[in-house]
């Protein structure tokens, strides 16, 4: 495509022949998700250390087993059963295979066992370098496992364009321009009124409410015809 937009969307083709796009998560939300998970893990360790203090040596054995599970298998458990750890869930992230399917045991184990080399030497320095070099923000564990960390775009619904009287377009417009008009109508409710008016003014040359009304009219014309 000419003038492809600068974007982090990663597309893959499904067996049905449609392209699905994934919005790849960058280092900052992933670091925040990790911090939340770390807080949860420390909280569990702390609570456990209080609870089993009375059990002395038997308790210490249990404590170490739980420590092992939290250290290595906590992310695996949540990624395989829930799609993401609680921290990633909170940031709206999910882990997927490169082909868009939910992550399985093998891939999740690989990416989480290799976490220790991404952490090397301190605070994910290796992982950060890998994420910044890689087009899909993959750390070493993701490269070896063939996984992606993406935003969980689930259940976006289209907003009906604001009702307006259909207005025929005065000039022929390209398909991309048509789409821009439709997007304007759909999204104008989410923008500040002044900004909506400003954009409509550039397009129509009219003023304020009149301009907005005209652009909505064009959009209705495109969406449902006369």
């Amino acid at each position: 495509m000419l003038n492809a937009p600068l974007d982090t969307v990663y597309t893959f083709e499904t067996p049905e022949g449609v392209d699905l796009g994934l919005r790849i998560a960058g280092p900052v939300p992933r670091a925040l998700a990790w911090a939340i998970d770390a807080a949860i893990r420390y909280a569990v360790v702390f609570a456990l250390s209080l609870a089993i203090f009375s059990l002395a040596k038997l308790g210490f054995g249990i404590f170490l087993v739980v420590l092992f599970l939290l250290e290595w298998l906590y992310p695996v458990f949540f990624e395989v059963t829930r799609g993401a750890t609680p921290g990633k869930k909170a940031l709206g992230l999910v882990v997927l295979h490169d082909n868009g399917t939910p992550v399985g045991w093998t891939a999740s184990l690989i990416r989480n066992l290799l976490r220790v080399v991404d952490f090397f030497p301190v605070l994910y320095a290796t992982g950060l370098a890998s994420v910044l070099i890689n087009r899909q923000f993959k750390r070493l564990g993701d490269l070896a496992a063939g996984t992606l960390v993406v935003y969980a775009d689930q259940g976006r619904t289209s907003v009906a364009p604001q009702a307006a009287e259909a207005l025929p377009l005065p000039v022929a417009v390209s398909v991309d321009e048509q789409r821009a008009l439709l997007d304007f109508a759909e999204r104008s409710s989410a923008l500040a009124p002044a900004r909506v008016a400003e954009l409509a003014q550039i397009l129509t040359g009219e003023n304020g409410a009149q301009a907005v009304h005209m652009v909505h009219g064009y959009a209705c014309w495109l969406a449902r015809g006369r």
């Binding site: 499904t14 449609v18 054995g61 170490l64 087993v65 093998t106 066992l113 976490r115 999204r187």
Partner: protein, 327 residues
């Protein structure tokens, strides 16, 4: 066709898919038994609608809505589910040993990297009382000598050691030993250097300790203690090393693949080995905590059991699942 007409025409299919997905995303026992058989058909129709909506440049809102619906459908339709206990059984009986046999050359390499320094240091420390200080600090040596000194009964459960201590040590072995196995594997991604160092370091330390203690004459406490779990523990270290070396092989000699592709393929096989090694270490921790530490058992019996365990590990890894390797 205008967007509005398109929506009115197809809306019912989208809603049907949405409801089916809502149902399928619940755990099986909470489903209300409504008709789920239509998933593939509904999903394919939504995919077709998505392609049309994109091609006709309908609004982003509509395309996004269809995209998310198709994405959910894709996730549900292509997720892999199978009986977990069956997969575990197949893994233990077929996948793990046959993956190891397929990578036998790297296994022997890892084994050599571990045992050769162990034998060398063992010999040196056995012949020279002071040689151990070249690889361990005096404090560590003193601690280790105290642990296996026949003069104190700390090792034996009979008096000083209670069964709760066994459980404490079990937890420690899990946390420490399996962690070491995992790190040995993971550090292989640094072109094998991490794995190499881990194998050499473990070989040197274990060999030095064994040689030194034998030279001191602590034969009666040291060897009966380590013999039993060594079959599982030492083999598992070598297997962790094999898994790490597989990552290194993918990066150093990818063959006719890109390094990324080679890494993905090798890592998928290597993770089977590291899981198998973790299982062996789990067994080793169990034996070490509850059997090796039992001082009331006579050394002869301990050696007999150890021989049996070594034999079973060798037989398991070389024979289990043979002929089903292709499966």
């Amino acid at each position: 066709m205008k967007q509005q007409q398109f929506i009115e025409h197809h809306r019912s299919v989208w809603e049907a898919l949405r409801q089916t997905l809502d149902e399928l995303e619940k755990p099986p026992r909470r489903r209300d038994g409504s008709d789920l058989e239509r998933l593939p058909e509904l999903y394919r129709r939504v995919c077709a609608d998505l392609a049309l909506a994109k091609e006709r440049r309908y609004s982003s809102g509509l395309v996004d809505e269809l995209h998310d619906l198709a994405m959910r459908g894709h996730s549900v339709l292509y997720r892999r589910k199978s009986l977990w206990w069956w997969r575990v059984a197949i893994f233990i009986w077929v996948v793990f040993p046959s993956t190891l046999r397929k990578n036998a050359r790297l296994f022997w390499l890892a084994t050599a990297l571990f045992y050769l320094p162990a034998l060398a240091l063992g010999g040196l420390c056995y012949h020279n009382n002071d040689f151990i200080y070249t690889v361990m600090s005096p404090h560590q040596v003193a601690q280790m000598e105290y642990m296996y000194d026949p003069g104190n009964s700390k090792l034996g459960r009979s008096e000083a050691r209670e069964s709760s201590t066994d459980f404490e040590m079990f937890g420690y072995y899990i946390w420490n030993n399996i962690g070491i196995g995992f790190r040995t594997f993971a550090s292989g991604i640094f072109f094998g250097i991490g794995t190499l160092l881990a194998l050499l370091f473990n070989g040197v330390t274990i060999g030095a300790v064994a040689g030194h203690l034998t030279e001191l004459g602590f034969v009666g406490t040291f060897w009966p203690f380590v013999a039993g779990h060594s079959a599982f523990e030492l083999t598992a270290i070598c297997i962790s090393g094999t898994a790490g070396l597989m990552l290194a092989r993918a990066l150093l000699v990818p063959g006719r693949r890109t390094r990324g592709e080679a890494l993905r393929v090798e890592a998928a096989a290597a993770v089977q080995l590291i899981m198998g090694a973790a299982l062996l270490l789990l067994v080793a921790a169990f034996i070490e905590a509850f059997w090796s530490a039992d001082g009331a058992v006579r050394p002869v019996l301990k050696f007999a059991v150890a021989a049996l365990l070594w034999l079973s590990v060798v037989l398991y890894l070389s024979l289990a699942g043979r002929g089903r390797d292709a499966a």
